[in-house]
Amino acid sequence: MFIRTLLVSSVVVLLVTSPGAVPASQAPGPRVIEVTAERFEFWPSEIAVAEGEEVELRIHSEDTVHGFRIVGGGTNLVIPKRGQGYAVTRFTGTQPGRYTFECSRMCGAGHNFMRGELVVRPAPAGHAR
């Protein structure tokens, strides 16, 4: 009986202290947006973000290696090939406007068509952060 209690207690302690466990008091993370890249488009190609909001973009490829660059934003990721994982980046809409993102790895004849926009919408009056 003692051994069983010890084992159960150990498992509970391990679960609570493991890296994957989220303390109840921790603030929720940014909104996660799944993005798909394939020749020659991103889906969605227009991503709305509220002013002041932080979003996490998880970008999968459906075919070859693509890139994900936010023009002028210093973000330039490699998106692995289909089935080989995904790229992650975070974006904070600190200023309203339209921010272009594009494929930054030559992916074929229509490479330059592969673009999209992050649209940061102004916060309602009185809610600006």
Binding site: G72, R98, M106, G108, A109, N112, G116
Partner: protein, 387 residues
């Protein structure tokens, strides 16, 4: 890091204004301002390309091994808004002057002036924005060792010309491109391959007349792409007394859900003044080429990923039906050659040991409506890759 907004809601609408802005943006001073937050420009992209080689065997004929395409793509970004893309293709591995052999082709070489999401300029050697394959022709992208027949004899891919135009994304899933390009040469049209021989390929192209081409795509529903294309132009510059206007209209759709992928395309070509074109050519070369006044083709394809565990456990089976007739409508006084009213069943497998490598095998049953020419059975094997 948050970049400066690329475009705001108050972006100018008038084309003239935007074109003037294009000129301003392309000046060195403006580029310095634009590029301030974009380290690394100018930059030359890595060498990319695609290749494929085939084994083709038709019943009653010897098999053929052909290194069909060796293509290199180059890219260079002068700045975030000024980009160059080039595509140089060697077909059939060997080029020798004055003999029937391979081809060395400059399929793309253009500069993009990326102004805004909605409006961008492009000039140089451009791909005609017609059909599924012409702008999406990397071997891992399509099923089958060879490209569809419809995308060969109705839409003459790879179809490229010198020209200039605009392209952009209008939002809500709508995308477009429109170019002014060099026209076709009607004196090179033929009964079996339609307008294919008329491509000037940007080689000292005659622009006594110009042609117009454009495409609209709708991508507003996930995994569905709808497209419509048009190409129209006066094509008798080499015989000015003729009035051979050519118009090609095309519709296509692609859809993918889970393991299933569907494709459909329809294309029709109208050739004006075909009777006089045939008469004129008949007097010149001694035999009428029997060019039709209308060509038509369509196909539907279903592919299913029967092994879907990710490369190297990635296998697609497909079947495609094609119907294509380069003698669909004849001018008055000319009879259609029924051997060019054809249809084909194509079925096969595409195996991906890597997402960028396609090992292909297919079987084709090619029929025609003539009682004189038998149906053909073809077996093809191929290996194609992209890097």
């Amino acid at each position: 890091m948050t970049p400066a907004p690329y475009e705001t809601q108050s972006a100018p609408r008038w084309t003239v204004v935007v074109m003037l802005l294009a000129l301003l943006w392309s000046t060195p001073v403006a580029a310095q301002q634009t590029d301030a937050a974009n380290d690394g420009y100018p930059s030359t992209g890595p060498l990319s390309g695609y290749m494929d080689f085939h084994f083709n065997k038709a019943d009653g004929e010897n098999g053929v091994l052909d290194f069909h395409r060796f293509v290199l793509l180059l890219s260079h970004a002068f700045s975030p808004r000024l980009r160059f893309v080039g595509e140089l293709e060697l077909e059939h591995a060997f080029v020798e002057g004055l003999e029937e052999s391979g081809e060395l082709e400059l399929e793309q070489a253009y500069v993009d002036f990326l102004l805004s999401r909605r409006l961008n300029l492009r000039a140089g050697m451009v791909l005609m924005p017609v059909g599924i394959i012409n702008e999406r022709h990397e071997p891992p992208v399509y099923n089958g060792v060879e490209r569809p027949f419809v995308d060969t004899v109705i839409v003459p891919s790879t179809w490229f010309e010198v020209g200039a135009g605009v392209h952009g994304d209008l939002g809500r899933g709508w995308r477009y491109r429109a170019y002014v390009v060099a026209p076709l040469n009607a004196l090179e049209f033929a009964a079996d391959e339609g307008i294919r021989g008329g491509r000037q390929k940007g080689s000292e192209a005659d622009v006594r007349n110009v042609a117009y081409t454009g495409r609209v795509e709708y991508l507003g529903i996930r995994r569905l792409t709808l497209g419509a294309s048009v190409w129209t132009g006066e094509s008798s510059f080499a015989a000015p007394r003729l009035d051979t206007s050519v118009t090609l209209g095309e519709f296509d759709a692609r859809f993918r859900r889970e393991r299933l992928e569907l494709r459909w395309q329809f294309a029709q070509v109208r050739i004006g003044d075909a009777a006089r074109l045939n008469d004129s050519l008949g007097r010149t070369i001694g035999v009428s080429p029997n060019v039709a006044s209308s060509l038509r083709g369509f196909y539907g394809e279903a592919g299913y990923r029967i092994w879907n565990a990710g490369a190297p456990r990635d296998l697609v089976a497909f079947v495609r039906y094609e119907n294509f007739d380069t003698q669909f409508r004849m001018p008055a006084g000319f009879e259609p050659l029924k051997e060019f009213d054809r249809d084909a069943w194509v079925t096969g497998l595409t195996y991906y040991p890597d997402p960028d490598i396609a090992v292909k095998a297919d079987y084709i049953f090619l029929r025609n409506q003539s009682g004189l020419f038998p149906s053909r059975h073809l077996v093809n094997l191929g290996l194609g890759w992209w890097f």
